[in-house]
């Protein structure tokens, strides 16, 4: 899963804290639910400033941080655009 260029950037630290902007905090629990099964070997938890990840030894931290951010982004976009999708299906169903 890691790119060659990223292996050099690996850290042995078992815990990282990922800062997430407050505007995204309502989306974090749903994002963590998905991250939990995408990366079952890692332990994700909500923290005051974002997300804490345990068991990250061997992971490229920059990559992992981006994955966590992406899941939070995806959740926010999903919520924000859900009415648009609902209206599409309503139109399709007549």
């Amino acid at each position: 899963m890691l790119l060659d260029s990223e292996i050099a950037n690996m850290s042995a630290s078992p815990v990282i804290n990922i800062l997430i902007d407050p505007e995204f905090h309502p989306c974090i629990p749903a994002a963590l639910l998905r991250l939990g099964y995408l990366f079952p070997e890692l332990d994700f938890a909500l923290s005051e400033q974002g997300v804490t990840v345990r068991g990250v030894s061997g992971y490229n931290l920059a990559w992992l941080e981006r994955e966590v951010s992406y899941q939070v982004y995806r959740e926010k976009i999903f919520r924000q655009t859900l009415p648009m999708r609902q209206s599409l299906y309503a139109m399709l169903a007549g």
Binding site: F24, R34, R66, Y73, R74, I77, M84, M91
Partner: protein
Amino acid sequence: MQVWPLRFRDLDDRRTILADDSGDYFLADSGFVKRYARDLLTPSDEEFLRDKGHAFEGEGDLAHTGFLTRWSRRHHVGDGTAYVILIPTLRCDLKCSYCQVSRAPLAAQGFDWDEETLQKVLGFLDGLPVEEIQIEFQGGEPFLRLDLLQAVAAFARRRFRSVRFVVCSNLQSLNEDILAFLESGDVLISTSLDGPHQVHTRNRTADSALTETFLGNLERVIGLIGPGRISALPTIDMKDPPEPEELIATYEGFGFTSLYLRPVNYQGFARKSHPTARTSASWNAYYRDFIEALIARNARTGRVMEEFYLAHCLRRILAPGMDSHTDLRNPNIPTGANAVIDFDGQIYPSDEARMLARIRQVDLAIGNVVDGLDQEKLALLAPGHINNFDPDCIHCPYQPFCGTDPIDDLARNGRIDVPRHESWFCQRHLAIFDLAMELLYSADPEVEFTLSRWLGLESLPQSLRPVAP
């Protein structure tokens, strides 16, 4: 301005693919994703999204209506054509180690349609609400019961406005009656050619003389009806896959310009004798290497060999309506017009479903030719055959081009609700669509040579490779 939902996925550590629900896609850097998620799009971002149809000002305006059209076309599957697979016999004169249907021996009794079943099958076909049909004869070896094929063909030619027959045959035995049947322009042959002589012998015939017979028959049939009406597929045994160059050369030698690389299907006999077929990592690596070799060879020789499945996936990315391959459609709701009728008259939603019944894992029959379709079962199966609402697919930019395969999920995992990234179908298709996107955005002239020929274009226009500012 409102932006339609965009899903995204990193292509590599610099580039991200984004796509909306209608399947319109573009490439961007990860900075774009950040700006989009934070509602901080720049004026040039907004201009790009507006120009490319990813945004609109108000419901009912041209951009909104245009998106609705594209989105609904992605969901319109089927053009009034039925695709029905018929199994007139389960008997076969070969015993391939990875036979996915656990075929019956040549002399076995009770594995062919009887006269009553034939009549019921014809009645079922007659009741389909379509005027166009493709009937695929599978088996076993269908030509063992040429009489049944002839009866179906005669009926279908009378009943349907447009009809096409595909006989999936091992071409191990030919006679004058079979050759006469093949002379009709509406009959196509699909056969298996696993590679050079020794590979085909190892995988299929276990006998060099039998392989010689097959190769001779293949040549004879090509001579009779031309390579355009024959498709051949290699099944790749990942324990000892053929060299890509050798495999391509074998196909070229017969005049084929397309091949369809298929992994061993984790069904039937393959479950015991090919346990490696259950995982996808080695397959995906081989597939990528094969495509690279194919592209290099095409550029070197100036001749163009197509790998059908990647070309098909590319076409699905580029346009809606590419739904003729029933294994990759969305929605792919089981109906009678897209069904398999087994040797015993049972009706299944797919070939793989009949295989699961054959090994007694789960009975997914959706009816039989005597009692008709079981509407309750059809309704039960339907939700698993659409990927729009899957909690993983909903975030995937490839969802509009992709499909779903709950039958394969059942075969491998015993359930249909495994997270997508753990399913073989998802792993395989993520790899294929990643590769397709990489190729589409490649600046390598060798890649462009192959892709443009596959797509029937002189060159790849930049409009097929939009990039956000």
